[in-house]
């Protein structure tokens, strides 16, 4: 792989203690262009900003951080630039379409301006909002009432013009959402219709913005676990794992073998139920209601298992920093096998109805297509990207928890349409079942938490019988797990794709900043372009097939 960036910018960058390349903000666009064109860093993972108001050692108050992966998804590079008091920097939207919404979010949350951005306006907060909530001096509880929703004409009019519409007379404007049966939550897409065809579409998100990142700055590391449950609530435990995995990365701890295998088993089970609900919902959108019962009933079975295991059906909070809250229960294997059997049955019943069904094929094939190159440039990941034929799966490109030793296949599509996205998910359910079976066979005994008093809670027996145990418990609960100062990004393969956490720690028990890289966010940003030219009914299926989960999208 080429190193043009390192050669060309050797005199311009410094590398900080955490491995990030620090560049002057005027060089950012050029540096990213070199990385993109010469070194093939074609996948923009995420962009975020940090407000260093309370960190006196930093040269400026704000910094913007870019995370990129190369075309083989093997290498991750972190580029960082400090923003001076002008609070402005260059936009990288000419290179990465995915930067459009990411930069809007930074403007919204931190008030950093991006020059030459096509449409720099708020994205998560409402348009009457004053101030920038992720700045350290914005009080966490200071809510602001919203009276009017955005008309979105400021986005629609230029979009129409770019398509050659000078007059709006022949067009009909329609809101799909934010309260629409097929909007899967609270997503709003505003479309201009010519007959039944969508000529232009713009999306508005943020209706479920719940201040996840601000809340993280206010809680100890373990207290954040329940918040992560509610990101992608269809596969809550995968979010737990992704977050705990990132924090464990900073701590530099290696989990006991049993903990790794349990994470694989429960994680894959979560992936299955995530895909089940996605497929069930899209089939309902299509009018194939019977399949909803076929797919949802196995999910109910898994809920029973998860209730027994974690005490909750949906928002499980099962993982902890350094392990998990408790071990598998007696009889778990039997329950798991019952679940897997029901899942298999549900899948095969559904496929029997749709696999060779002409109506299903006509509704899904060649609908909502996104090309391979476009998908990468727009930051799609997970099943949505694999449906385009890109073999990007973090379980293989950056294996964790021994994924490289499991025998499973990566499901790939070829066209990148609704059909491929659905079929990739069907196949992934089967592959996840294979992984679970292998992991159960190999499940070792032993501890389920890191044996370190600074990370894991002591056994209850210790807490109630001696003062050291009691103190240990008290300190960990009140002060949190002490995480050394670091700026760190780590991701796992979530239900919807690359689910990563960028964490800035300051050595205390509370993170200084947490940014989640939500796979849905980038899929949703691509959505309006995917539906232009298609019909409303196709737009509904396209949205369903991307599996947009509002909790993760808006955070």
């Amino acid at each position: 792989m080429s190193n043009t960036f390192k050669e060309r910018f050797a005199a311009s960058y410094t590398i900080d203690a955490y491995g990030a390349f620090i560049l002057d903000k005027e060089l950012i666009l050029k540096a990213l262009q070199t990385l993109f064109e010469e070194d093939n860093y074609t996948f923009l993972v995420d962009i975020t900003a940090v407000d260093y108001l309370h960190v006196k050692t930093q040269p400026e108050r704000f910094a913007v951080v870019y995370l990129l992966r190369d075309q083989n998804f093997q290498n991750l590079i972190t580029i960082k630039t400090y923003i001076d008091s002008s609070l402005a920097t260059q936009s990288v939207t000419p290179l990465f379409k995915s930067a459009n919404w990411a930069e809007r979010e930074i403007w919204d949350q931190y008030g950093i301006h991006f020059k030459n951005h096509p449409n720099l306006k708020r994205i998560l907060n409402h348009k009457e909002f004053m101030g920038h909530p992720l700045r350290k001096d914005y009080p966490i509880t200071q809510g602001q009432l919203c009276h009017q929703t955005d008309t979105l004409m400021d986005e629609m009019t230029p979009r129409l013009k770019s398509k050659g519409y000078t007059s709006q007379e022949d067009l009909m404007f329609l809101n799909l959402g934010p309260a629409h049966p097929a909007s899967h939550g609270t997503i709003r897409t505003f479309v201009a219709l010519d007959g039944e065809n969508i000529t232009c579409a713009v999306s508005e998100i943020g209706y479920l913005h719940r201040g996840f990142e601000k809340s993280c700055e206010n809680h100890t590391y373990n207290q954040i676990i329940p918040y992560t449950d509610r990101l992608n609530y269809c596969s809550a435990i995968l979010n737990n794992i992704a977050y705990a995995h990132a924090v464990e990365g900073i701590l530099g701890v290696d989990l006991p073998e049993r903990a790794k295998f349990i994470r694989v088993i429960i994680g894959e089970l979560s992936r299955i139920i995530d895909h089940l609900v996605c497929l069930a919902a899209i089939l309902v959108d299509m009018g194939a209601l019977t399949n909803y019962w076929y797919l949802y009933n196995p999910r109910e079975k898994v809920y029973d298992l998860l209730s027994k295991l974690t005490g909750a059906r949906l928002t499980n909070s099962y993982m902890r920093i350094g392990g998990m809250s408790h071990d598998l229960y007696d009889g778990f294997e039997h329950d798991l096998n019952v679940c897997l059997k029901e899942i298999k049955q549900g899948i095969s019943d559904t496929l029997k109805l749709i696999e060779h069904n002409r109506i299903f094929h006509d509704r899904t094939q060649n609908v909502g297509i996104i090309s391979k190159e476009d998908a990468i440039n727009r930051g799609l990941s997970g099943p949505n990207l694999r449906a385009c034929g890109v073999p990007y799966d973090l379980r293989l490109t950056a294996p964790y928890y021994h994924y490289e030793t499991f025998d499973f296949d990566i499901a790939l599509g070829s066209v990148g349409d609704v059909y491929d996205r659905m079929m990739v998910r069907f196949e992934e359910i089967k592959q996840s079942t294979r992984i679970i079976n292998q992991a159960m066979q190999r499940l070792p005994g032993g501890a389920i938490c890191v044996q370190d008093h600074a990370i894991s809670l002591p056994p209850k027996k210790e807490v109630y019988s001696n003062i050291e145990g009691l103190m240990n418990q008290f300190k960990l609960i009140y002060e949190g797990v002490k995480v050394p100062p670091c700026e760190y990004y780590r991701a796992i393969e979530g239900g919807n794709g690359e689910l990563g956490f960028f964490i800035v720690s300051d050595g205390s028990g509370t993170p200084y900043k947490v940014k989640v890289r939500p796979p849905c966010f980038y899929a949703m940003a691509a959505y309006p372009r995917m539906i232009e030219g298609s019909m409303i009914a196709d737009a509904v299926l396209t949205l369903g097939s991307l599996n947009i989960i509002a909790g993760e999208l808006d955070r």
């Binding site: 907060n125 809510g143 009276h147 939550g185 609270t186 209706y207 719940r210 809340s215 019962w293 949802y296």
Partner: protein, 172 residues
């Protein structure tokens, strides 16, 4: 021993109060509008599916037009950005109408005590039944439905619910 009209017409006729007859009919044919925004909406999917089966209580005709619904189930977090939409939908429903606030977020903001989240939907619209849980189990949803039925049983047609003195923060 029947008296009055029942004595004359025998078993072919039942006399009752108009309120009771209407309430009886209403109770088992609620048409819910599910304002599902977040995790609670996923639990509502369970309520509607085979295992819990909301149709046992006559409320399976889920409407996505507020004009066709008489029960608003707010399931999930309502942010400040979402609040005017919730109010609009509530206003579009015709009387008589009832509201279930399902889950900690809808009831009080839940653990999202921050700059984005409305601290309880009852500052925007009136609520009849609150359901605890994060998210509530499907049984809790069904229990709330039964609670609404109890409210309906005690209400008289003469009560004009529209005239309730409710003034939310978005009412001008």
């Amino acid at each position: 021993m029947a008296v009055g009209a029942e004595a004359i017409f025998g078993e072919s006729l039942i006399t009752t109060k108009l309120d009771s007859a209407i309430s009886w009919a209403r109770e088992s044919s609620m048409w819910p509008y599910v304002f599902g925004t977040a995790c609670c909406a996923i639990e509502f999917m369970s309520v509607a599916s085979s295992k819990y089966d909301i149709s046992r209580f006559g409320a399976e005709v889920v409407r996505f037009s507020p004009r066709q619904a008489d029960l608003l189930i707010v399931a999930g977090t309502v942010s400040y950005k979402q609040a005017p939409i919730l109010k609009k939908i509530y206003d579009q429903m015709s009387e008589p109408k009832w509201v279930i606030s399902a889950g900690a977020c809808a009831c009080s903001g839940g653990f999202y005590d921050n700059y984005t989240t409305l601290q309880g939907i009852d500052s925007i619209i009136p609520v009849d039944v609150y359901v605890a849980g994060c998210p509530p189990r499907p049984e809790a949803f069904l229990d709330a439905l039964l609670e609404v039925q109890k409210i309906q049983a005690t209400q008289s047609l003469l009560d004009d619910r529209a005239k309730r003195n409710f003034k939310g923060v978005l009412d001008v």
